[in-house]
């Protein structure tokens, strides 16, 4: 599985997309995330584990309190996703360009 596959697989779940959504606004503690996403701590922890193992989210401990963990999005994974989407855009741009050229060539040929 490539990093991009891992990103997409992790985002395939709507609950995990909600977690990512919440983290877009900045790093959050697990407690805050549970509240925002209205999930129980065990359920949230399961989803955070998937996001972490798939590399979308990083986990940090707070200096003064070892029990508190802060989660944040890892930007590089989303940049890969962006690059992939750009590639798809180029793919279809080339295809539509070829379609246009063909359709217009055919129409000209029909007229003559």
């Amino acid at each position: 599985m490539s990093a991009l596959d891992a990103t997409l697989a992790a985002l395939a779940d709507p609950t995990r997309r909600r977690v990512v959504e919440a983290l877009r606004r900045g790093p959050r503690r697990a407690g805050e995330l549970a509240e925002t996403t209205q999930m129980t701590a065990p359920a949230l922890s399961r989803h955070l584990r998937v996001l972490r193992t798939h590399g979308l989210v990083s986990e940090e401990r707070v200096e003064h309190d070892a029990r508190v963990r802060v989660y944040r999005l890892r930007r590089e994974r989303f940049e890969e996703l962006q690059a992939w989407l750009t590639e798809i855009e180029v793919f279809w741009t080339l295809q539509l360009g070829s379609f246009k050229a063909h359709a217009e060539r055919r129409a000209r040929a029909k007229r003559t």
Binding site: L8, A9, L11, A12, R17, V20, E21, R24, L73, R75, F78, E79, L81, Q82, L85, T86, I88, E89, F91, W92, T93, L94, Q95, L96, G97, S98, F99, K100, A101, H102, A103, E104, R106, A107
Partner: protein
């Protein structure tokens, strides 16, 4: 990349919508580019084909006689001269992964405005309940918006963080 949607491309073609739809589907092999970047198996000679109508397949045919072909997906909506929608899978997709391509043909000055949009990514599973419900287009639109918004905000974030 468009700010409104992550993967949407348009072109204006100098023929009427009905002809544009006809060429897009019947003539797909003539315009669909060749080679490994565009075809599922770019190394082999192939013929692209849309089987007309809802439920038809988009195929890359290698051997007509033996039926050897790659199926990109099924046609979900076949509404000449306005709209075409089909599933679009790559060769490396898992069986439950699918994306959707919608093509709209709209009369425009000088011909037809063709808008092609690919959405769904692998986030929309084949067995997703939304695929059986009426809210499917809305769901896909929402997904597209979600990606666009997410990517937009991340782009903004990375610009802001870039050292000067």
């Amino acid at each position: 990349m468009s700010p409104n949607d992550s993967v949407r491309v348009t072109t204006t073609v100098a023929v009427e919508p009905a002809e544009a739809f006809e060429v897009f589907t019947s003539d797909v092999d003539a315009w669909w580019r060749r080679g490994p970047r565009f075809r599922a198996d770019g190394a082999r000679p192939s013929q692209m084909r849309f089987e007309p109508g809802r439920g038809g397949r988009l195929l890359e045919v290698y051997d007509e006689a033996s039926g050897d072909a790659f199926e990109f997906g099924r046609v979900l909506d076949w509404e000449p001269p306005k709209r075409l929608r089909f599933e679009f899978r790559g060769r490396n997709f898992a069986p439950d992964e699918v994306t959707f391509v919608e093509v709209r043909f709209k009369p425009a000055p000088g011909g037809t405005l063709v808008t092609l949009e690919q959405s769904g990514w692998s986030a929309l599973r084949l067995d997703h309940p939304v695929r059986h419900g009426a809210q499917e287009p809305a769901f896909i639109a929402a997904m597209g918006g979600w990606w666009a918004e997410l990517l937009g905000s991340l782009r903004a974030t990375s610009r802001a963080r870039r050292p000067r």
